[in-house]
């Protein structure tokens, strides 16, 4: 069955450092991979989308990579800030958008 795993339940990092979050998937080949941010008591908010033919995507301090051979996506936040503290969810997606399945999420805590 399809499985999406994200690294560890929580990741603590010092302010100013680069946070790297991992998303691994098995038993399917998504055409796209999305990353979302979720704050406590709020709904997830879309951050970035990367396509299977793209190796890397950037948006301000965010960078996403997509390795279809390793079946893995890495999500980087450079120069991390306490305001980046949240849970980050990856969501691989098959072609078409009807079904979007989420990973287990990684809770990031940026320590001042």
């Amino acid at each position: 069955s399809q499985k999406i795993e994200q690294n560890s339940e929580a990741l603590n990092i010092q302010e100013g450092k680069t946070a790297t979050l991992t998303c691994n998937y098995t038993n399917y080949s998504p055409a796209y991979l999305q990353w979302y941010r979720q704050d406590p008591g709020r709904g997830p908010v879309f951050l970035l989308l990367i396509r299977e033919n793209e190796k890397e995507k950037r948006k301000e301090r965010l960078k996403v990579t997509f390795d279809t051979t390793l079946k893995q996506s890495l999500f980087h936040i450079t120069a991390s800030q306490p305001a980046d503290s949240a849970t980050y969810l990856c969501a691989p997606r098959l072609g078409g958008y009807q079904k979007v399945t989420f990973g287990t999420g990684t809770k990031l805590q940026v320590i001042p």
């Binding site: 999305q34 709904g43 997830p44 958008y97 009807q98 287990t104 999420g105």
Partner: protein, 110 residues
């Protein structure tokens, strides 16, 4: 001006009761979803509708019945509530694959 709005935000009820959660989006999207987020924060898809038609039903018990009166609304009715139904239910919509979520409806079954 909220894009995806859900009501109620909080719902506390007894086992065996029937309850509904409503969702409306003003984004003009064709596709809407219901997701359930349990106590371990895992976000699981339940249903998806496209232009009022059910296109995804993820082995959800028959006690859950979604209804889409028009493409801007997707409601969730739950019969005979059980303790395990306690969770946060999120509505979402999309037209390009990027999901826009509501703020969630926290259901507590006592």
């Amino acid at each position: 001006d909220t894009a995806v709005s859900q009501t109620p935000k909080y719902l506390v009820t007894q086992m065996g009761n029937d309850k509904s959660i409503k969702c409306e989006q003003n984004l003009g999207h064709d596709t809407m979803y219901w997701y359930k987020q349990d106590s371990k924060k895992f976000l699981k898809i339940m249903f998806s509708y496209n232009n009022k038609e059910l296109i995804i039903n993820e082995t959800v018990p028959n006690r859950f019945s979604p209804k889409s009166p028009d493409k801007a609304h997707l409601n969730l009715h739950i019969n005979s509530l059980e303790l395990g139904d306690s969770a946060v239910y999120f509505c979402a919509s999309t037209d390009t694959g990027e999901l826009f979520f509501g703020e969630g409806s926290r259901l507590t079954v006592l």
